[in-house]
Amino acid sequence: MSRNRILSAVRGALDPSHAPARRSAASARIASAPKHPRPNIAKLEGDERIARFAECLAALGVDRIEVQAADEVPAAIATYLSARGLPLRLRRGEDNILASLPWHHASDLVVDIGPAQADDAVGLSRALAGAAETGTLALASGPGNPVTLSFLPDTHVVVLCEQAIVASYEDAIARVLAENGGVVPRTINLVTGASRTGDIGGKIVMGAHGPRRLAVILIRDGAQRT
């Protein structure tokens, strides 16, 4: 059986007599994951962290819309879509926070619910965290935010609370897992800008397979900035 052949070949290459020691070293590392050094850009705090996140989004060509409170999100999305000449229709999942928004404030915006369909033009998701080090959004798959919403529609709009902006990938994943009740979702999607390719003549073109356009609606909600 190939499994045993491969494992015994690996064991033989590594000295079979130390296999138990290797096993306990591996369990120990998994039980208490190492804290590797992080670069300074992954350790920023306060205003510096928020500023780094915003700078990275700008450099990636991501549109950023700030609102002071969650209540303003539906109207902000409608304004954003109409300013770009995009259809006033989007699809979202069953996410509690997205569901609780006052959608009637944007009465001309049609909101569909469920996983993305082939002809959806705009997908809306909520990110569970943002990592300031590279302007990366962290999303978790599930009925709250079906993963297809991040990839099938041409335009992806992501709602993010400012308090969910953390310094590093490590912190972002910790936040995702905490919000997900400690369960690893099928996919954790780290999104850093919209879909792109450089495969034709070396020129960067947006919208290779996923969204051409990515917008972040940042909810300041109680966040203090000096």
């Binding site: 491969i6 050094p37 991040s150 099938l152 020129k203 073109v205 290779a208 996923g210």
Partner: protein, 475 residues
Amino acid sequence: MTKTAAFEAGVSAALANEALQHALADVPAGFVAGRARQKAALPEFEGLRRTARDIRDHTLAHLDAYLEEFERNAVSAGSTVHWAATADEAREVVLSICRAAGARTIAKSKSMVSEEIALNAALEAQAMEVVETDLGEYLIQLRGERPSHIIAPAIHLRAGDVADEFRLRHDHLDASRDLATPEVMVAEARSVLREKFLAADVGITGANFLVAETGSAIIVTNEGNADLTMSLPKVHIVLTTIDKLVPTLADAWPLLRLLARSATGQAFTAYTTIVTGPRRPEDDAGPQSCHVILLDNGRSELLQSEFRPILRCIRCGACMNHCPVYCAIGGHAYDSVYPGPIGAVLTPALAGVGEAGHLAQASTFCGRCEEVCPVEIPLVSMLRGWREQAFAASDDWRSRTFLRAWVQLAKRPRAYGLAARIAAAILSALAGAKGILRRLPFGERWTRQRDFPAPQGTTFQDLWKRRERDEGPAP
């Protein structure tokens, strides 16, 4: 024709290929400059390389234990784990999963392991349609070529080549349509491939890393094609090798911080996805089953050889981007799945020294590959190791005699110094005022592609002696 002769013929053809030379000329301004910018923007870059190397070494030194941990955790997340000792076995596993799924169309995200096992041909032989969805891979699939670079498989093509190919292959579209810009062509490929995504029964991806702690695969792309591949079809296959493990998610971040910076010169790729098993009971999207195939194909043997450090490789392609030989001849001339310095070290290990030992000659030993490798693989000394093995196995009496004579001379400093002075004087005289030799006595093969700069002034040994006399012994 011997392997070496075939390789040399390929090199000559590549050097004479104007279109290829044009395409390769962009590498320094693109990937190389991009990496330099990222390195300059991250003061901790060099420290990260050491951390990354240590993580990979630790994993390889405990590989049996992490493989078992990975298997346990992947299975408890709902994945099926398959083990394949050889390329044949891996193909058989993929085929049986596809048959069981009744697959007619298979969407594939970029995977060098699938190139290694020649998967597409095997699937097509079973009348299944395989569609490469990474744009570069799609282009070379249309052209029946193999990747010429591990992260930019169509780097040898120019925009005009792509337009010609699309006009020929997308024959359901208006033949007179505008294909003047990369934007138009990307949009066309997007709509053609979107149909394939929606029709696919099985999605096959590789994995950049496997995480033992969680039983996850980590997959990075810029296009988002891996995400559609793993989320739309009802079956997801992760085809990967046993060396891709990291112990924990915490161990993945230092590697991921280096991967894109070393590869494309981005701080992070657009999409980094941690995928763990099939759809959950509450999910309304995602595949119903997830299979992880762990292929060995020679890696367990490498683990106990002097070449173990090559298994640290995270497939960023920095070594080829910075290689003067790769940048002169491109990837196809290597005629191996993995080109460039990594290919010249890995291919003989996987295919045997008789098949690919000659690839170690495709190096100037300048060491740039080693300088930029994010996991500090000693590529130059490994290339030297293969050269030694190839020499030991060689029956080319001319090169053996020449090298033996050279060794005898090099062991005698006085005789060597004298010979060097005589040779320098002769070459200098032959070159005349221009200082350039268009043909080298006994070295016609060297000067076939380039001129030889004649020695200027005195020999290195004489210069060194003078320097020691003037400045005292070197420290």
